[in-house]
C-alpha cells in the first residue's frame, strides 16, 4: 500500500486526497460533457450541481452517524469540520443520497419540469471508479476481509492476505459507467430514470461487496451500509411498483 504516494519538497502527497480530487475532476468533466450532449442549459446545471454538492457533503457526514455510531457525533455534527482537511469527507452512500435530495430540491425550486439529472449517473460511476483507487492505496478500513483467493493482497498490520475490496468497487464502477453509457439514450432511461438505475445498481453491488469489507455489523449480521442499501433498494422497488400501477391504470382508463 502507498498511503503517501510521493513527496514534493518534503511535502507528502496522500493517495486518498489525490484520487479524491482526481475523482472530482473526472466526475465534473463527465457531467459537463453529458450536460452539453443533452442540451441541458447552464441556468439549470449550475444550481442543481451546487445544491448536489451541498446536499452530498452534508449527507456524507450525517450517514457516518448511522454507520460508525453515536461516538462520532461530536465531529460529524460539527459543521465546521466539513472544512477540516484532516477529516475524511464521509460516506459515499450518504453523499449520493444527500446529493440526490439536494439536486431534487434545487430542481423544484427553479421550477424545472421533468428531470435532466441523468447526466449525473455516468459521472458518478466514473468518479467512484477513480476515487476507490485512492482508498485502496491508502489501505482504508484495512482494505477487506481475509481471503485465500489468488488476488488477495497484503494489508498493513496483518500477516494474511485480504480482499482488495476498494478495487472490486473501482472495477464495478468502471463496468457500471460503461453500462450507463450504453443505456443513456434508451427511451426508458430518461427523465431521471438513468440516475435512479445508476444509484440502484451501485446499492445492489455495495450490499454484496460489504460482505468482504471490514465495516462494523449493525443488525442481523449486516453492516450499516448494507441496511442503508437494502432500504434504498426497497424504496426503489416501491417507487417502480407504484409507477407501473399508475401506468397500467392510465392505460385502462
Amino acid at each position: 500500500m502507498h498511503p503517501i504516494l510521493f513527496e514534493i519538497g518534503g511535502v507528502p502527497i496522500y493517495a486518498h486526497g489525490l484520487f479524491l480530487v482526481l475523482a472530482l475532476l473526472v466526475g465534473t468533466a463527465m457531467l459537463g460533457y453529458e450536460a452539453r450532449r443533452r442540451h441541458w442549459p447552464r441556468e439549470e446545471v449550475v444550481p442543481i450541481t451546487l445544491a448536489a454538492i451541498f446536499g452530498g457533503a452534508i449527507g456524507a457526514r450525517l450517514a457516518i452517524l448511522f454507520f460508525n455510531g453515536w461516538e462520532t457525533a461530536p465531529i460529524v455534527l460539527n459543521f465546521f469540520t466539513i472544512f477540516d482537511p484532516r477529516i475524511g469527507p464521509g460516506s459515499i452512500l450518504g453523499g449520493v443520497v444527500g446529493a440526490y435530495i439536494g439536486g431534487y430540491i434545487a430542481s423544484r425550486i427553479i421550477g424545472k419540469a421533468g428531470c435532466a439529472c441523468d447526466a449525473f449517473a455516468p459521472a458518478m460511476a466514473l468518479a467512484m471508479a477513480v476515487g476507490r483507487i485512492g482508498d485502496f492505496l491508502a489501505a482504508e478500513d484495512g482494505i477487506g476481509k481475509p481471503t485465500n483467493l489468488p488476488w488477495g493482497v497484503p494489508a498493513p498490520g496483518v500477516d494474511y492476505l485480504v480482499h482488495p475490496a476498494p478495487l472490486y468497487d473501482s472495477a464495478f464502477n468502471l463496468a457500471w459507467f460503461a453500462t450507463l453509457l450504453l443505456l443513456r439514450d434508451h427511451p426508458q432511461m430518461q427523465n431521471g430514470n438513468l440516475l435512479k438505475v445508476g444509484v440502484i445498481g451501485y446499492a445492489a453491488f455495495r450490499f454484496l461487496v460489504e460482505f468482504v469489507r471490514n465495516n462494523p455489523v449493525l443488525v442481523l449480521g449486516l453492516t450499516g451500509q448494507q441496511v442503508f442499501c437494502l432500504a434504498l433498494l426497497v424504496a426503489a422497488t416501491l417507487y417502480y411498483a407504484r409507477q407501473n400501477r399508475n401506468a397500467r391504470n392510465a392505460c385502462a382508463t
Partner: protein, 125 residues
C-alpha cells in the same frame, strides 16, 4: 406565509444578490463560530466550578456546533424560494470551500471515520 419570489430585471441585481449570498454565508458561520468559542469558554468556567455538569456541557456544545447545518439549509431553501441569487451565492461559497478542503486533503492526509471517536477531544475537532 406566502413567499414572494423576486424577479430579477438586470444583471446587476443578480450580481448584487450573489455577493450578498457570499457575505451572508460567511456572516452566519462567523456568528456560530463566535457562539461556539463563547460557549467553550463558558463551559470551561462552569466545569471548573462544577465538574458534574460535563455531560450537559458536552451536549450543549454539540447542539450548538450542529446549528449551522440547520441554519445553512434553512437559509438556502428560504432564499431559493425568495431571492434565488442569494441562495446561489451561498451554495457557490460552500462548494468553493468544500472543493478547497478536498484539495487540501492531498497534503494533509484525512483521518478515517472509524478512528474519529478517539480524535473528538483534539483541538480543532
Amino acid at each position: 406565509m406566502k413567499l414572494e419570489r423576486k424577479t430579477y430585471a438586470t444583471r446587476n441585481q443578480k450580481v448584487g444578490d450573489f455577493v450578498i449570498g457570499i457575505a451572508l454565508w460567511h456572516v452566519t458561520l462567523l456568528i456560530f463560530w463566535l457562539l461556539n468559542v463563547g460557549l467553550g469558554i463558558g463551559v470551561s468556567v462552569l466545569l471548573a466550578s462544577n465538574p458534574d455538569l460535563i455531560a450537559l456541557a458536552s451536549t450543549a456544545t454539540m447542539l450548538l456546533s450542529c446549528l449551522p447545518f440547520v441554519a445553512q439549509i434553512g437559509l438556502v431553501i428560504y432564499f431559493g424560494l425568495t431571492r434565488y441569487w442569494i441562495a446561489l451565492g451561498m451554495l457557490a461559497t460552500f462548494a468553493l470551500y468544500f472543493v478547497l478542503t478536498l484539495c487540501a486533503m492531498i497534503i494533509f492526509g484525512a483521518a478515517c471515520f472509524a478512528i474519529l471517536g478517539g480524535l473528538s477531544g483534539s483541538p480543532g475537532f
